[in-house]
């Protein structure tokens, strides 16, 4: 399983773009990069998944460089409600039965 490293915490202000970078130096060829968001007292919620280059959905963008050893979750124009813990995971499609969460990045949005 590829280990991931991300900042423990980040602060930002409402209206700003927030970029959270995750490193996964040992990512395998078939692995996908997946991000989850967790609010207090709730289960993690899937945000976005990608394999390479850029993926965008209604919530976020995910940038993955060519070497795939890192990825950046980009949250455009954050609001107070984006305060949460964000987890970066590397998963092997259709093989991973033990999906492990790291400590995540605690994002605190200030008014």
């Amino acid at each position: 399983l590829a280990k991931t490293t991300q900042p423990i915490s980040m602060d930002s202000y409402e209206g700003q773009e927030v970029n959270i970078t995750c490193s996964h130096n040992n990512i395998a060829t078939n692995d996908y990069i997946t991000w989850y968001q967790q609010f207090p007292s709730q289960g993690p919620r899937f945000i976005i998944q990608g394999y390479k280059t850029k993926v965008t959905n209604e919530v976020a963008s995910l940038f993955i460089p060519a070497d795939r050893k890192s990825s950046t979750l980009s949250l455009p124009r954050v609001s107070l409600s984006d305060t949460a813990v964000y987890y970066c995971l590397v998963v092997a499609p259709n093989r991973d039965d033990k999906i492990i969460f790291g400590k995540g990045t605690r994002l605190h949005i200030l008014p």
């Binding site: 996908y32 997946t34 989850y36 967790q38 007292s41 709730q42 289960g43 993690p44 919620r45 899937f46 998944q49 987890y87 998963v91 092997a92 499609p93 259709n94 991973d96 039965d97 033990k98 999906i99 492990i100 969460f101 790291g102 400590k103 995540g104």
Partner: protein, 116 residues
């Protein structure tokens, strides 16, 4: 949007008692998981389940824990004799391993277990 449903939302029990936490995964999902999160700590993998058997388990999932899919809809986690350190939020998750997203888990709202 389909949901994973967990009951009870909160259970208080005495040390040594048996507890059963229940989950109804999304109906067309085939892969099921239990995680726990001690207050202020990370989400910890307990067990995964597919085709009516455990596919992976962590070192936390010892003989005190068991899982079962008693019928076509429920997925349960049993703790045989609870300890104080079992106090945590327990999350059930399910996945269909669809080809558009790989191994994406949908989590329930959790069951908070308090052991006194």
């Amino acid at each position: 949007e389909p949901e994973v449903t967990q009951t009870p939302s909160h259970q208080v029990t005495q040390m040594g008692q048996e507890v059963i936490l229940r989950c109804v995964p999304i109906s067309n999902h085939l892969y099921f998981y239990w995680y726990r999160q001690i207050l202020g700590q990370k989400v910890e993998f307990l067990v995964s389940f597919y085709n009516n058997e455990i596919s992976e388990k962590s070192e936390i999932f010892d003989d005190q824990f068991s899982v079962e899919r008693p019928d076509g809809s429920n997925f349960t986690l049993k703790i045989r004799s609870t300890k104080l350190e079992d106090s945590a939020m327990y999350f059930c998750a399910s996945s269909d391993r669809a080809t558009d997203h790989y191994n994406v888990l949908t989590f329930g709202a959790g069951s908070r277990l308090t052991v006194l």
